[in-house]
């Protein structure tokens, strides 16, 4: 331990940062520095333009050496942003880093107030509190906790797949957990991808099979994470493996059982084709599914419903014995050091906007339904057809369905403009139909996207600006007879129009998953007000969360397209690997400890600890805290009736002096 804890004179250096105009614009920094300079024990008090810059940090280091400072206070931005920066600077000058205290006068000061005098007053009060507090600081040392090298990836969409492969290629053992029977996610349903129009399956399926065959990846489909315990480096995760009634190892994907099923006709909606086709109770999710193993749906299977099935599937499977109707749900526990959450999104339910007639008119479809129609592996073999089997002569796309609307979702789903233009081009290619796109604004900011918009215009796709008011089959002119009529205010032409078409495609936006709140709690993450998982910092830490060792990637963090999802997945993988390769994490030394001579042995604290860090030592008749288990919340400290539990960095005398400080008249 660097022992420069001075029991004698406290010599405080105080620095107030201008942060350019960010702070200095609303707080009189020299006045704050002058006010603090007159407090007892303050040796140096300065204001400087950018404290976090190299010269700013150098200033602190120099003063520590020249003036023999043994405490440092910096009033600038949030400690969540730069506490580490300044602790390092203080440490570099030979002082214990915990002799430092930070004051937040930007996020909690200059940025939120409009009265310069009041903001300056507040900055003085907060600074005074910190100067008061820092006197009581003691030298502390961070503890190192080893990191378990294995990683868990939750969600087998393109983001999860990419993150898992990246880490597995880097030599890490990865558990990939997916709740559906196959990995692939939304991307597996797409025909082509914008703006390059390359085939989605051609770029996705190789990655899917790479996951299956990778020696470092343990793939658990049809499984869900149900419990997460522990902390960064040492998570204990419980995964529920739902019974698929088929042994994945033994099934070779020959599908003979499907042909042999007692249900001669497929009669249940096929999830993969969003209900546009039917499947049997025993099915394979889609031709390229990974793993290539059938799954039996117990809600549909006659054996599970009545117990009176001849089990023709088992018979067909024969010697392979892959079908196991006695499979039970299993709970598996794994240990991992880091977790990447890539749980994706769900699509907006178009029925929530009844005036668009989804569910009422069969020729009103959603963008994902059209996606399945244009795909050659889809229910129609790639033919875009109307309800009556005929090819549409005219198709309309309605953009921003459920997005950019205060009545539904306020956000822009980012991909629907491009996705719709892609589909529009494919529809023209497949059917030669006239295509009209109804839009609010065309958002084509990605690489090659504006060029794709240009191409769409040149290809003869009509664009009409205006939010569609209604879709109706009520014809008022002979040419509207038998068609769907789009009623819209054309805001560029300045008139209300009625446009008859054969088919209407609703470009539904993205929403957080229905169970995003449960998932968030499971992994101890935060959500924004919309329900997307919250990143630690919108710019500086876009894939980290407030829980160390839990990273987010893909659309669970917010709407984004495939390249962005993959970029984020790579970033999350890199962050996790950086932690693993360092081998340890440094834990903030804010743990609670017991002053034994004061402990009366009342045991009030024991049940309060959610981490079972507190035990009662029967022999001594005193409580005892296991520092390795303590997370430093301080709940026991506040509860101890004799004041015998204390918390490093949040000692009673530190906080009492802070209270005095903020209330001392400026």
């Amino acid at each position: 331990m660097k022992n420069n804890y001075s029991n004698g004179e406290v010599r405080v250096g105080f620095y107030v940062c201008h942060c350019g105009h960010n702070i200095a614009g609303m707080v009189d920094c020299p006045a704050v520095a002058y006010y603090i300079s007159r407090l007892p024990g303050v040796v140096v008090s300065r204001d400087y333009k950018y404290m976090c810059s190299d010269p700013g940090q150098e200033l602190i280091k120099q003063d520590i050496k020249e003036h023999g400072l043994n405490r440092v206070v910096v009033a600038s931005c949030s400690p969540l942003l730069h506490e580490h920066t300044f602790r390092h600077a203080v440490e570099a000058a030979g002082l214990n880093p915990f002799f430092f205290q930070m004051v937040n006068i930007r996020e909690h000061g200059s940025w939120v107030h409009t009265d310069r005098a009041a903001a300056t007053d507040k900055a003085m009060a907060l600074s005074r509190a910190a100067v008061n507090r820092v006197r009581f600081h003691r030298p502390l040392e961070t503890t190192r906790v080893p990191i378990h090298p294995d990683v868990l990836v939750v969600g087998g969409g393109i983001a999860g797949i990419h993150a898992a492969l990246t880490m597995a290629n880097g030599g890490k053992k990865v558990f990939l957990v997916e709740r559906d029977p196959s990995i692939g996610g939304h991307m597996a349903k797409f025909d082509k991808t914008f703006p390059t129009l390359d085939c989605a399956a051609c770029i996705l399926t190789p990655k899917m099979s790479a996951v299956r065959s990778h020696e470092n990846i343990t793939l658990w489909t049809y499984s869900e994470v149900v419990k997460v315990e522990g902390y960064v480096g040492n998570y204990v995760v419980t995964v529920k493996r739902k019974p698929r009634y088929v042994n994945e190892e033994l099934c070779i994907g020959c599908q003979e059982c499907i042909n042999a099923c007692i249900f001669k006709e497929a009669k249940f909606p096929d999830e993969f084709n969003v209900g546009l086709s039917k499947r049997k109770p025993v099915y394979i999710p889609f031709p390229q599914a990974v793993p290539q193993a059938v799954v039996i749906d117990p809600m549909r299977c006659l054996h599970f419903k009545t117990g009176k099935c001849k089990q023709t599937c088992v018979e067909a499977c024969g010697d392979r014995h892959a079908i196991d109707l006695n499979q039970k749900e299993e709970l598996v526990q794994i240990k991992v050091g880091n977790i990447v959450v890539a749980t994706g999104f769900k699509l907006f339910d178009a029925k929530r906007i009844p005036q668009y007639g989804y569910g009422l008119y069969p020729n009103v479809v959603t963008s994902i339904e059209l996606e399945r129609l244009v795909t050659s592996s889809g229910p129609t073999g790639g033919h875009v057809v109307l309800n009556n089997g005929r090819t549409p002569q005219s198709v309309a796309f309605v953009l921003c369905v459920g997005s950019r609307d205060h009545k539904t979702n306020r956000w822009c789903s980012r991909t629907c403009c491009m996705h719709s233009m892609k589909l529009a081009q494919l529809v023209r290619e497949h059917t030669g139909a006239d295509v009209t796109v109804f839009y609010l604004d065309i958002r084509a900011p990605g690489k090659g996207c504006e060029e794709f918009y240009d191409k769409s215009l040149k290809d003869g796709i009509q664009f009409v600006r205006g939010r569609v008011a209604e879709v109706t089959d009520w014809a008022v002119t002979p040419e509207e007879e038998g068609k769907l009529v789009v009623r819209v205010e054309d805001t560029l032409a300045g008139l209300v129009r009625r446009i008859p078409v054969d088919m209407i495609v609703l470009a539904v936006g993205m929403e957080p998953q229905a169970d995003s709140q449960d998932v968030r709690r499971l992994f101890n993450m935060s959500c924004g007000t919309e329900g997307w998982f919250l990143e630690k910092h919108p710019k500086m830490a876009p894939v980290s969360t407030f829980t160390d060792g839990v990273f987010i990637a893909g659309c669970c963090q917010g709407p984004k397209d495939i390249p962005d999802s993959i970029a984020q997945a790579g970033a999350a993988a890199a962050e996790a690997m950086a932690l693993i390769d360092r081998g340890y994490i440094e834990q903030e030394p804010n743990t609670a400890y017991i002053v034994e001579e004061d402990c009366s042995g009342c045991k009030s604290c024991v049940p309060l600890c959610p981490y079972t860090a507190i035990t009662f030592d029967e022999a001594k008749g005193k409580a005892s805290i296991n520092a390795a288990l303590c997370k430093g919340c301080g709940t026991c400290v506040a509860a101890c009736p004799s004041g015998s539990i204390r918390q490093h960095l949040f000692e009673d005398d530190e906080i009492f002096s802070e209270i005095e400080g903020v209330l001392a008249h400026a």
Binding site: P79, V112, N524, S526, V637, A638, A639, I655, I659
Partner: protein, 171 residues
């Protein structure tokens, strides 16, 4: 009446993970709110010792605000619920001490609710402004003064009595 230039002083104990971060978000979003709250960061609202709250009042705070994560969202599982229990008890005690219940407030504010930080602080400042200064230090000084006056008077009376007794004995 109190000084027209009087400004309420509020001490706020915010948990590091939700409410403090929400206050940072309010800053980043440049939301504007009253400058009367002084935020003290704790790792968890569960660390908000009732003594801190009493110390704040007795050091001159006109109001105390505690901010924690929503129930079920606590970074430390349930520190916020422990605070809720203490808060309920403390409120009763403050009531008995004659401190208006609006002077102590507990709010669940998640890291995403920057706007709630703004509205809660603004509301609380207005509530406390309407109540006027609490000025416990002033009241303590008054009470101490009263005690001293009573003591001096009692002493004086005792002296008179003993003088009278001495006189009577003399006679």
């Amino acid at each position: 009446m109190h000084d027209p230039n009087w400004q309420p002083r509020i001490v706020a104990f915010f948990c590091n993970w939700c409410t403090y971060t929400a206050a940072d978000l309010a800053g980043v979003s440049r939301l504007k709110y009253a400058p009367n709250a002084r935020i003290i960061r704790l790792m968890c609202s569960g660390r908000a010792d009732p003594q801190f709250i009493l110390a704040a009042f007795s050091s001159g705070a006109d109001g105390v605000l505690i901010g924690g994560c929503h129930p079920g969202d606590c970074h430390y599982s349930e520190g916020n619920l422990k605070t809720l229990r203490r808060f309920r008890l403390l409120k009763r005690m403050l009531h008995d001490l004659g401190i208006d219940e609006k002077r102590l407030r507990l709010e669940w504010i998640s890291a995403a609710e920057g706007d709630k930080v703004r509205s809660v602080i603004n509301e609380m400042v207005e509530d406390v402004r309407a109540l006027g200064p609490l000025d416990l230090p002033g009241r303590f000084a008054d009470w101490d003064g009263e005690m001293t006056r009573l003591e001096t008077r009692a002493q004086a009376a005792a002296e008179q009595v003993s003088e009278a007794k001495a006189e009577a004995a003399h006679v």
